[in-house]
């Protein structure tokens, strides 16, 4: 298919990424784990390091030990393409990492919990303001469907073009379908761009 690197001495596939975003406890890690081929991995970054840009040991000798953790999973698409899924919390303390998170991201799934829609507002704002394509996954905790899709859309002030998909974050097929909804959304955007190229 031609995505693999052709450099001599190295055979590296191309890595792409989908972000799984949303507020605290909406099921991000659960969804990543449900579709990933490996148990979700965890990686850490120093909050202080990136946020204040220390450049010597004096700067880090204080008591500040805060790290932020990210969960991620992996789906090998084929020998030339690997898809990574990053669970990305919406809290502001993570925003220093978002440039790196967004880099190479095809788009995002924003998970919402209908009982606490507001915890995912920040994630939606972030992707909207940056023009990063996303779909909303409504994680149906305990099968609760206490609101209609229309009510959820209105509460989220969602652009009509943004797909909204019901899911159970614990279920592999449901998680896959949310990801497929994002791919369809990207393909539709592609078709629109091809028809009306942005000048």
């Amino acid at each position: 298919m031609g995505f693999a690197s052709s450099e001599p001495g190295v055979r590296a596939p191309l890595a792409v990424k989908i972000l799984v975003a949303g507020g605290f406890g909406v099921g991000k890690t659960t969804l990543v784990g449900a579709v990933s081929e490996v148990a979700p991995l965890r990686t850490e970054e120093y909050l202080t390091h990136a946020s204040i840009g220390v450049d010597d040991l004096e700067g880090v000798s204080g008591k500040s030990t805060t790290t932020v953790a990210l969960d991620f999973g992996r789906i090998t698409i084929n020998s030339e393409l690997v898809l990574y899924l990053f669970g990305t919390p919406g809290q502001e303390r993570f925003w220093f990492m978002w440039n790196d998170l967004v880099n190479g991201a095809m788009g995002a799934v924003v998970l919402v919990d209908t009982r606490r829609l507001e915890v995912s507002f920040a994630s939606i704002d972030f992707f909207e303001s940056r023009g990063i394509p996303f779909v909303v996954g409504v994680n149906c905790f305990h099968g609760v469907r206490d609101r209609t899709q229309e009510e959820i859309r209105r509460a989220l002030d969602l652009d009509p073009q943004v797909p909204l998909v019901l899911c159970d974050a614990r279920d592999r097929a449901a998680g896959r379908d949310v990801l497929l909804a994002l791919i369809d959304h990207l393909m539709a955007a592609h078709a629109r761009t091809a028809a009306h190229p942005v000048s």
Binding site: M1, G2, F3, E7, G9, V10, R11, A12, P13, L14, A15, V16, K17, L41, R42, T43, E44, E45, Y46, H49, G53, V54, D55, L57, G59, V60, S61, G62, S64, T65, T67, F72, R74, I75, T76, I77, N78, E80, L81, V82, L83, Y84, F86, D100, V102, N103, G104, A105, M106, R130, G131, P133, R172, A173, R176, L179, I183, L186, M187, H190
Partner: protein
């Protein structure tokens, strides 16, 4: 075999911020800023043997990276396997790139360019997901 630091190991919770930087010789900022979380790192096939010249100054963590990256591995996966913060891991990978032991393959920068992934990539991802 016991490492000489064993027994000196302090589990002082006040210090975890500094200790990983001893692995990097005190460096806290990656020299290269082109490594991303999903940059794929692969050992160059003609890299020198474990005890060959040029490998002596390497830390155990460097060697672990070389062993891990016989298969292409993302920076985030390497950091996770080493149990080190991403920024520290990037410094170590940078050393190995500098020394010519590994190559890195950056992701395509769709979102930052305000663009979309190519249709062939989207189709491949869709087909791969359908097989899940």
């Amino acid at each position: 075999m016991k490492h000489w630091t064993e027994g000196f190991d302090d589990d002082d919770a006040d210090e975890p911020l500094v200790r990983p930087y001893t692995i990097t010789g005190g460096r806290t900022t990656p020299e290269r800023d082109d490594l991303t979380l999903i940059t794929l790192v692969t050992v160059i096939s003609e890299a020198p043997a474990d005890n060959g010249p040029g490998m002596r100054r390497l830390q155990p963590e460097h060697r672990t990276i070389l062993a891990l990256c016989k298969q292409p591995l993302a920076v985030a996966e390497i950091a996770s396997a080493l149990n080190l913060p991403v920024s520290v891991t990037k410094i170590l990978i940078g050393d190995l790139i500098e020394a010519g032991h590994v190559r890195s393959r950056p992701p395509l920068a769709f979102a930052q360019a305000g663009g979309l992934p190519g249709m062939s990539i989207l189709e491949a991802v869709r087909d791969g997901l359908r097989k899940l």
